[in-house]
Structures are given as C-alpha cells and as structure tokens.
C-alpha cells in the first residue's frame, strides 16, 4: 500500500499554481476562482472536495434559490401559526394538536434509480427516512411518486422491477407502512425515471431536535454504518449532470443501502433522544461528512474541529477526500455534551451501532479538519454550506408553447352513442396512467405498526398518531406532467389542488405542503422558465389555500440528451383529522345510498386522460383552478366526515366523473346506477365532457338515505353546488350509466387490473 500524502493547508499556500481537477468534480471555472478568493489561496484537495459537493446543484440549490424564496415570502401569519419548523431544516414540522407534531418531506432519487434502479430507489427511501429521524421523530409511514418511460418500451420493465423491488425491500425491512403514492408512464421519462420518496414522522413537541452544533466543547459523534467508498461524488457528479450518450458508466457513484442497519439506527436514535443524549443531530446523505460538518457548524456556534482519522472505515485505503465525499448510507452525526457521552455510547452499544467521536464544537468560526496530524481543511463553514453561488439563470418563453396550447382537443369528434362512450371509458380505465397499480403496491407492507387507517387504493393515505384519541394525519402526493407541459404555472397549482382535494376527501383538514420539483436542465432557458412559472404558481396557490410549503427538494437535469422531461412538480399535502375513525374511503360499501356530485362541470379536456388515452393527444390548455371552490369543497367534506353524514368521498381528477365512479365501484366491488342528464342540462356540456372532463373542485360522495336531508342542508349552507347523480347497488354486480351503457364489475376490474401485469408479470392471487 502506498503512503497517502495529504494535501495540507500549508502545502496549498506554498503551491498556489498546482493544477486542480475542479472541472471533473463538477465546478465551473468561475466557481473555482470564487473558492480561491474566499480562502485567499488555492483550496486543499480536501477543501475542493467539500466545496465541489456542497456547491453542486443538488446540495446548494444555486439555480433555484432565487425562485424558492417565494415559498418563504408568500405567507400569512395564519399560515405559519402551526409551523414549528419551516423550510431549511431537514424537514418541516407542523403542530397538529394534543401535544403532537408531524414532520414530513418528499425528496427525489431520480438519477441513481435509472443507473441502478434497485439500490437507487432503496437508498431514496433510506435518505428521506433519516431526514425524518433527524427532527427527533419516529418515522410512521412512507409514500412514493414514480414516473417511468412508456409501459411497452423494452427497458421499462427493468426499471420498474428494480425501483419497485428496491422500495419494497428497503421500506418493508424498515417496518414502515407504505400508504400510497402514484405511478405514471410516459415516454418523456424513458431514460430518466422519477423516484420521489416521501416519509412522515410523529413526535411530541418536546422531542423536537435540530441540526445545529451549539455549545463549545460539545462532542461531534459519527455513528451508524462505517464509511466506505460508495456514492463518492454522487451529489456533484451524478445529481448535477445529465447522462451524456456514450459517457463512462456512473455506477460507482450510486450508494448501496442496508435497511437492517437503518432500522437499528432508527431505534437507536429514538432511544438516544429519549435519554436526552443528543443536543443536535444531522443525517448523512448527499455530500456525507462534508455536508454534515459544515451544516451543523454553520447552524450552531460557527466552529468545529474534527480529526478525520477517527472516522471508522469500511475500506482503510480511502483518501481524506474520499472520506469527506463518501455517501455511505445509514450514518448520522450527533452533537453530544461531554458528560452525556458515556450514556450515548451505552445506547449505541446496546443496538450494536458503531460510534466514534470525531471532534468538538468550537467558537472559532472555522471548520478545521485534521488528518494524520496535519490540517487539511480550514474554512469558514458558512462559505461551504450557506453562502454558495447563486444564479439567476436566463429564462425564455418556450418557442413551441403557443402552438401546443392552440392545438386543442376540441378538434376531435365527440362520441354520442353509448357503445362508443363505453369503449372510450374502458380505454381510459385500462390506460397505463389510470390502471390499477396493485402489481406495485401489493409488494409493499401497509399493515406494519398497526396504525394505517387508509392506504392505496384510497385517494389519500392516513395514519393514526395517537392511539387513545385517534388523532391522525392524511397525506397525498400528486403531479400531472401533461398539464405542466401545457402551462407550468397552472399545472403546479393543479398538482396542489388535486393533492389538497385528496386529503380533504379523506375527511382530513389540509395543513401543509412539501414539494419535489423535477425539471430538466436549468441551463436551458426554456426549462428555467418552466421552473420559475411552476414555483410561482405553487407559491401563489399555497397562499390562496392558506397552507405553507414546509420543505422539499429540487431535482434538475432530468432529461435524456437534449429532451427535458415534462415539468413534474410533485406536491405532497398533509392534513390532520381529530379521529381517524371518521375517515372516508374512496368507495361505497352499502346498498341503496345516494351518490352526489359536488361542484360544477365545464368542458375541460386539454391534457386530460381522455385526450391522452383515446386520442394519443397532448395539447390545448389545462383545466382552470378555482381556489375558493376548492376551499369550500374541502370545508364541506371535512364537516360531512366529522358529522358522519357521508360514507365515502372520491375526488374527481384525471379521467373525470366516470373514472371517479369506477373508483367508487371497484374499491369494494359494489355496483351503482348513475345518470349524467342533469350534469349535461345544468352545466351545458355534452356527454363526453360530463363523463371525462377534468374540471377541478369536484368530488363524488355517497350518502345514506337517512342523512339525505342533513347533507343537502350542509351543501346549501356552504354554497357548494350539488347534484344527485346515482344510487349504489349491491346486487346488480354492474355499473350502469343510464341511457348510455352498462358494464359488469368483473369486466371493469379485469380491464383496470390487467394493464401492469401484461407488461411486468402476474399479480399473486390476481
């Protein structure tokens, strides 16, 4: 083994002209110069490693920062009154009452999941769960929002099997219920799937922990898995660059996950919190030790001294730079008072978790790292973690957008007879984006922990937080890349209101938002315009609805070659419910209940599932957003659930009214007879629009006959337009759309369930 000679600060000062591979580490020439200006010398190789990962797009948000500020600016006092921790920490924390708080966040792991789908997706779950633990919370559920290429493309099965297998493996082994999510297929994601993982955790108010290093003399402890050579440069090289055709394989930059180590780490952390052993804590994810030390120091007393030799290694040949950059999974860094270190180590020993003291908190304002007795890093940590470059990148209105919006689906002839409409209904129902995802979700455990109140296929997932009172939270994720391609401002708002409506339809009150913004290259001015419009739309929408963005993640460079993905801002909404026993499923179970449509229907088929699956078309303008109507609808659903006068609620989204009816039928296999005449006459639309239009602010509810009068009164009192559109029918075994068509439930089910298995293999017991 050759002796590793560290590049020291002394050496860097003495050899200012040394050639440094900043470009290979993803830094631009002017960024490298900026580092030299900050330090007043060239960086050591260790410092260069740290700056390169921390100034990467993935870690620094350098292209998005100027836009993301709106989430902090467009808020009212009412919006932040329940917010215990806002954006900028590992995850936002929301007070849900009774002394409980909830923390949740959604994050991307897109690029690793294309290169190595199984490990990429698995470590995506692992990373987001560690963010939740870092806040002092017990993780209680996960969800995932997935985007794959065309369902019939030869490579899609590899990615789908790997990603689903990875989520299943990691999430199930962690013992976290997977309560929902969404899956879309579209050729724009062919060589760039999206894997967005959400985790939610619960904590008592007093258990809140933050990522800061305070208290001079407090110890800096690294614990969990050993540091190895996996994921080196993942942040800078992988997440912040596009996949160039014919380039070298990037597999070594993907991390490998061990869910067992993470499960033990969760329990170990919770015991450390309970024993008051921890002052500050930070998980190690992107940029590993570089990120944890610089962020902890920046957010605390400003200084830290670390001896890198104390890092426990899986591979003793790692260089200092590699140790600083390694993205080995299942590691945490804690700040511990010296008098608590024995108690701390007793807990880690109990859980067979390895720990080592790396150094201590100082008030020098410098992050100093020693290796082999010499100083290899001496920086102001804020210049690494906070004051990185910020770009206000050029934006351009897309040259193709006007033509796309002008290409309205109004050009397609509308069917009038029942047979044709039935055929179109089945086409929509079996289309890849509307099809049943149980091939995926029955690989996920939603029972573990025993608190799952709603789960797939319900529109939102719901978890009981307090086993005595029944207090719980509901979560939904949504994004519609097709809408966003047509109009990113409206598209982002549509993702928000859809997710908001899903949560409201479960009976919960929407409280807060986390977003994962997936876009193409920020260096493409048209993509940057899409991004800016989407952020603006989302921020404006949150202000209208009165729910704050508490955190999230930006993923740029999602494209293959020169073709960016559709803008895909995935919006997760979290809401609370006093007692999960009052929840509403997405389907009816009893006979003879009235079905009511809430909201009005317009002819809005631009970007719709109908246009996409029946006509293979994307063009026109997406549905309008009406925040007042959304709030009224949500208020009504919450009240109706609370008073127990509706038995189910299905939100109307893609596929429109008939898709919601199908959901309601398929949820428990109970049929229905519905009619659209009054929708047609009241709203002045044709049968196609009545069935398939994607007008927002609508929901379908079932009401037991004895509650009819009360329900109508509630609608009148809250000014929500309502029409009786059907009755449930337990005996017929079919769905009848009066005057148009009838279809057996079994046939609907086989169309709906058959699509994914036809491409990816049979469903067990299917």
């Amino acid at each position: 083994m050759t002796e590793l000679i560290p590049d020291t600060v002394e050496n860097a000062t003495a050899t200012p002209a040394k050639d440094q591979p900043y470009d290979l580490l993803g830094l631009k020439p002017d960024e490298y110069q900026q580092i030299r200006d900050i330090l007043g010398r060239r960086p050591t190789s260790g410092e260069l490693a740290m700056y390169s990962v921390m100034w990467s797009e993935h870690c620094s948000y350098k292209s998005s920062k100027v836009h993301l500020r709106q989430f902090g600016e467009k808020v009212t006092e009412a919006m932040t009154k329940n917010l215990m921790v806002g954006m900028g920490e590992n995850a936002g924390v929301v007070d849900i009452g009774e002394g409980w708080a909830v923390t949740f966040k959604i994050e991307s792991h897109n690029h690793p999941s294309y290169i190595e789908p199984f490990q990429g997706a698995a470590t995506g779950i692992g990373g987001i769960v560690r963010d939740i633990i870092s806040m002092g919370a017990r993780p209680v559920a996960v969800m995932d929002a997935l985007r794959f290429g065309a369902i019939d493309h030869p490579d899609t099965s590899r990615v789908v099997n790997g990603v689903v297998g990875g989520i299943s493996f990691y999430g199930n082994c962690l013992g976290l219920p997977n309560i929902g999510g969404e899956t879309w297929f579209d050729p724009v994601y062919q060589a760039n799937p999206l894997v967005n993982a959400l985790a939610v955790g619960a904590l008592r108010h007093e258990d809140l922990h933050l990522a800061n290093a305070k208290g001079v003399g407090n110890l800096v402890v690294l614990f969990g898995a050993r540091t190895g050579g996996d994921g080196i440069g993942g942040a800078s090289i992988l997440a912040s660059d596009t996949f160039a055709e014919g380039g070298p394989t990037k597999r070594p930059a993907v991390q490998v996950g061990d869910p067992f180590a993470e499960k033990v780490l969760i329990e170990c952390c919770l015991e450390l919190f309970a024993g008051d052993c921890v002052e500050g804590i930070q998980d190690l994810g992107a940029a590993g030790i570089s990120c944890a030390t610089s962020e902890l120091a920046s957010n605390g007393d400003g200084g830290m001294f670390i001896t890198l030799d104390n890092v426990l290694l899986r591979d003793p040949t790692l260089t200092a730079e590699e140790i600083l950059m390694s993205e080995s999974q299942e590691r945490m860094m804690a700040i511990v008072r010296p008098e608590m270190i024995d108690a701390f180590l007793a807990v880690t020993t109990k859980w067979d978790v390895e720990a080592s003291v790396l150094g201590e908190v100082t008030d020098t304002g410098r992050l100093i790292i020693e290796w082999k007795g010499q100083t290899i890093v001496d920086v102001d940590p804020r210049t690494v973690a906070i004051d990185g470059p910020v770009y206000d990148r050029p934006m351009e209105y897309p040259t193709w957008l006007d033509a796309l919006q002008a290409d309205s689906p109004a050009k397609f002839a509308r069917a009038t007879d029942g047979d044709e409409l039935k055929k179109q209904f089945l086409t929509v129902l079996g289309s890849p984006n509307e099809a049943d995802t149980d091939w995926i979700t029955n690989q996920y455990d939603y029972y573990v922990m025993g608190n799952t109140a709603l789960h797939t296929p319900d529109g939102a997932g719901m978890i009981r937080i307090d086993e005595v009172s029944g207090l719980g939270v509901a979560l939904a994720t949504d994004a519609n890349g097709r809408y966003c391609q047509l109009d990113p401002y409206i598209g982002a708002q549509l993702a928000l209101v859809e997710s908001y409506r899903n949560v409201a339809s479960s009976g919960a009150t929407p409280l807060a938002v986390s977003d994962c913004l997936n876009f193409g290259s920020p260096e493409n001015p048209e993509v940057m315009w899409q991004f800016a419009r989407a952020v603006e739309g989302l921020a404006d929408g949150c202000l209208e609805l009165g729910i704050p963005v508490t955190g999230g993640n930006v993923s740029f460079y999602n494209q293959t070659g020169d073709v960016p993905i559709h803008p895909t801002p995935v919006v997760a909404v979290m809401g609370s419910i006093d007692n999960v026993a009052r929840r509403l499923p997405s389907g009816w179970q009893d006979d003879g209940e009235n079905l009511y449509l809430l909201g009005v229907t317009a002819d809005e088929l631009g970007g719709s599932a109908w246009a996409g699956s029946v006509h293979d078309h994307l063009g026109g303008i997406p549905p309008r957003v009406d925040f007042t109507a959304e709030k009224d609808l949500a208020g009504l659903l919450g009240a109706a659930a609370h008073e127990g006068i509706v038995t189910c609620a299905v939100d109307l989204g893609t596929g429109g009214f008939i898709r919601a009816v199908a959901d309601g039928v398929l949820r428990f296999g109970v049929g229905a007879r519905v009619w659209i005449d009054e929708i047609v006459s009241r709203d002045g639309v044709d049968a196609t629009a009545a069935l398939f239009s994607e007008t927002q602010a609508r929901a379908l509810v079932s009401v037991a006959r004895e509650d009819d009068v009360k329900f109508r009164g509630l609608c009148d009192g809250r000014h929500v337009p309502v029409l009786r559109v059907g009755v449930t029918d337990k005996r017929s075994g079919e769905l009848e759309v009066q005057g148009l068509f009838s279809i057996e439930i079994d046939q609907m089910r086989s169309v709906h369930r058959g699509t994914l298995p036809a491409h990816f293999g049979p469903v067990v017991g299917g």
Partner: protein
C-alpha cells in the same frame, strides 16, 4: 397473564404483537434478545420482521441469540411460544418446528389479505377457533415458501401438526398449502400470516361488512390467555 414479545435487532411487528396482547386482555411484556431472562412471563411471542437483516438465512442468526436458549428451554417444558412470520422462521431455525422457509416461488415480496383455514384447534394458540374455521388475516413476506422432505411432510400431515393452511391462493409456493405448524405438544405454533394485524376494528383487513374491520386474528391471543386461566 403476562405474555412476552421478544425484540431482536430488525424486529418490526413487535409493537403490533404487544398491542394485540393488550387488546386480548393480557399483560404485554417487552423482552430483549440480548438478555438471558424471560422476566417471568407465562408465554412468548417471536414477532415478525427481518431479525439481523435476515442475513445468512431468515431467522438463522436470531435462532442463536442469547435469549433463545431460555426460549428453547421453556418451550421444551411446555411454555406457550408463538412465532409469527420471521418468528416462525426463527422457530424453524431453532428446531422447535419442522421444515424450512424459502423465497416465495414468484420471487417477490407479497402483501395480501389471505384466507386460511384453522386445521388444528388442539393448541394453546388456536383453541379459540373452531376446527376448520376459515379466517382472513394479512400476509406479508418475501420468504414464506414452506418446504420439508417427503417423510417430514407425511409425518406433519399424519400427526395433525399442520395448524393453518392457505385457502384459494397459495401465496408463496408452500408445500401442501401449509401456512403454519404446531409441535406435538401443542404449545409451540408458528405461522407466516400475521394474526396481530387483524385484532382491532379499523386497522385490519376489509370485510364485506365494513372497511378494515377484520379481527380474525384476535382469537390467537385470546386462546393463550384462556389456556392460562384453565391451567
């Protein structure tokens, strides 16, 4: 009655098992894999999960953890011991139950509401059911395929040691649709499906009557409590 639930590193359904005991009316006691101490419990549950990451073979490492020497001793003296999923795998690895459990024949993890038949009610964990009763409880595993050599299989069937059998769908390729076993004495039972996930209305499998209302698993825990009263 005090029923202990052992937490191994990687146990996942330990909290669920503790809750199930409480809902059945028993005193639930947490036990730690590293202790050589059963803390005076009257019965023991080995919960589901991925003990020790299921490295080597599912349940193989846990079967050699410190507390298992006490568990094996107690089981041989007649103490009620239940293994659920990973716990079943541990009991098999500890030779308290016969056969082996391998990767599902279809190769993937599967979670479904599984119909099973109670094949034998002469055990302390199944006495609360009626012979041949059909119940639905959640199943969730990646390695639940039961195997045994012909001779063992013949003995298990001949001696009435099959405790539960899959109905309608065999979810993992188990021989003879075997979902769970008992020992000859009837104090040790193991099964792959999860009775502890079907004990509380609102959080169990769907039933024709109401969403998530299935509590078919509760009788497993009530059985052992009733057995204690009788003994």
């Amino acid at each position: 009655m005090r029923v202990g639930v052992i937490t191994f590193p990687g146990s996942l359904d330990d909290r669920d098992a503790l809750r199930a005991i409480k809902l059945a009316g028993g005193d639930a006691v947490s036990l730690w894999h590293g202790d050589h101490d059963l803390h005076g419990v009257d019965a023991i549950i080995l919960p589901g999960g991925f003990s020790y990451g299921d490295y080597l073979r599912c349940g193989a490492i846990a079967a050699h953890s410190p507390i298992m020497s006490e568990v094996i001793d107690a089981a041989n003296k007649g103490m009620p011991v239940l293994g659920i999923c990973n716990g079943f795998q541990i009991l098999v690895e500890a030779h308290l139950l016969a056969g082996g459990l391998i990767r599902n024949d279809h190769g993937t993890f599967i979670r479904r509401d599984q119909k099973i038949r109670v094949e034998n009610v002469d055990t302390v964990w199944t006495s609360g059911y009626t012979q041949g009763q059909e119940i639905t409880i959640p199943l969730k595993n990646g390695e639940g395929g039961f195997i045994a050599d012909d001779e063992t299989l013949k003995r298990l069937e001949g001696d009435g040691l099959v405790a539960f059998r899959y109905l309608e769908v065999n979810p993992n390729g188990s021989l003879n649709d075997i979902a769970g076993l008992r020992n000859a004495r009837g104090n040790v039972v193991g099964l792959m499906p999860h009775p502890e996930h079907a004990v509380e209305p609102g959080f169990g499998p769907d039933t024709p009557a109401a969403m998530s209302s299935g509590t078919d698993g509760l009788a497993v825990f009530q059985s052992v409590l009733a057995a204690a009263v009788l003994s």
